[in-house]
Symmetry: C2
Subunit: 336 residues, 2 copies
Amino acid sequence: MIRVIVWGFGEMGKGIVENILSKKSVLELVGVIDVKPDLVEKDAGLLLGKEKIGIRVSSNPEKLLDEANPDIVILSTNSFVENVLPQIEMIIKKHINLITIAEEMAYPFHTHPEESSLIDSLAKRYGATVLGTGINPGFVLDTLIITLTAVCKKVKKIKARRVNDLSPFGPTVMKTQGVGTTVEEFYKGLEKGEIVGHIGFEQSINMIADALGWKLEKIEEIREPIVSKVQRETKYVEVKPGMVAGCKHVGKGYLNGEIVIELEHPQQIRPELENVETGDYICIEGEPDINLSIKPEIPGGTGTIAMAVNMIPMVVEHKPGFYSMKDFPIPRCLNI
Amino acid sequence: MIRVIVWGFGEMGKGIVENILSKKSVLELVGVIDVKPDLVEKDAGLLLGKEKIGIRVSSNPEKLLDEANPDIVILSTNSFVENVLPQIEMIIKKHINLITIAEEMAYPFHTHPEESSLIDSLAKRYGATVLGTGINPGFVLDTLIITLTAVCKKVKKIKARRVNDLSPFGPTVMKTQGVGTTVEEFYKGLEKGEIVGHIGFEQSINMIADALGWKLEKIEEIREPIVSKVQRETKYVEVKPGMVAGCKHVGKGYLNGEIVIELEHPQQIRPELENVETGDYICIEGEPDINLSIKPEIPGGTGTIAMAVNMIPMVVEHKPGFYSMKDFPIPRCLNI
């Protein structure tokens, strides 16, 4: 039995808790942490709309981590290294292993070298293993691509595209992707940092480059509005023709002046209304060429929840330190 | 620099040698072994139709392994555990790491438990690492499937199909797949063991089942003739309508009376003449469902050659013992 605490009880954290509760023969949920006042002290099972499980959401991580004796914490509080670093330090210093779905933590070794080496050295000193994972970054546009290159004698260029549908998401996602704005508002939102597109291109591109031994000169990111030709609607937003239905975000890695990695992630509502087929597409130019498609795309929410929980046994067994998916044995479903 | 010997200079061995020679900044070819009289003592480079490389094919493995001081041997002599076991024992006892593309060695832990545990214990005693790999078994119908299940909360059933084109292959492959026989001859050939279909279903199915924690009751294999409706021809064989264009080989793994793993590998010449599209197809029934296609299929020869060479650095660095792809870090192209 592996004792697990989930820190961060938002949409992802809730899904992770549910997934852990469905694997009772190997995983034991021993605590949930969140600071939101409407969650604190309430039973996590009841908050999920299910039966009481006898675990109340705690707003005191120090105390819970000390008392609940977890083997591992799943950290699902925030996307950015800067914001999760204090939480990660606290967990490691209590000798507890850690999986985080913070997008920037999937591969921060180039973007945040100092923080990464701090985490790695602390993890080694305190005997904890730290892994950043998720569906993207963490799987579709990095781990899966790297795995696929194993059948190539040589790789010249990688182009991949993750085309998804934002329709099920709520107002927060609509805002960060610029859905429902005018083109002018979209560009202003980009400038102000309110519209961000995808978080994870730098991470995925650096992970692929390191796996293939490419020392990139630069990584470029381009965010463009997906201007709708038709009327598109969801429960939360209306997009008239000429307005923005989403953000087309592209990341490019350069080697010797050429683009060798090009990742594209257009995120929009109701893509089917303009005959856009959702899916994950990977194209490796090399020896041989490889063309892969997954249709429809691997669902982002379920995929992230699955990855976070499926990696638990491997992280608990792994030697201490801070690692990425690239360093782990091939992942698999904890099929309980 | 990693010093490599290639043992077995058939089609695969030749491709592996060429691939190693193309990666001179990390791999050094220090010997080639084969016993075929038309190869022995000839320069391996000249035999490849290229320039002389100063390495003559040796028919004396004992001597070469002792004198050339290799870090690793790539063994590409034969498909079956029984036949490669003495060679594997010899290599391990000289404290040398080993990658083999023998299909049965990709995952012999269930089919050959005694031989597997002998290899593992010898490897640990002599400080050698042993890995079985290849494109299939070794990647398409096992490693890739397992990796893909990582995005699932639950897996109920796996169906996968590798549809390829045998047209480029020579007379030996035509015979083992029954291409150019009558239906009657095909079934007689199966009975006599001359027509074998694919080697590797038991290995792939067992590897997947172990990764997912499924204790299968039985594995069933079915071989059927692919009867051609049209005239099909290659350089080596003619198939008239009503004759056999190849072998449709299916492997099924049962759990609680249900088929939970179903792998299909129809191998034939000129599939396009009956509008059969070649490709690798993986379908996971679970939470969520996943539908993957790779079109055309990953080429078998190039893929096996790439896998064997790409795994070299990881095998050399790995702790001693006998492992499968399932236990290794995610594979990748040694992109030199």
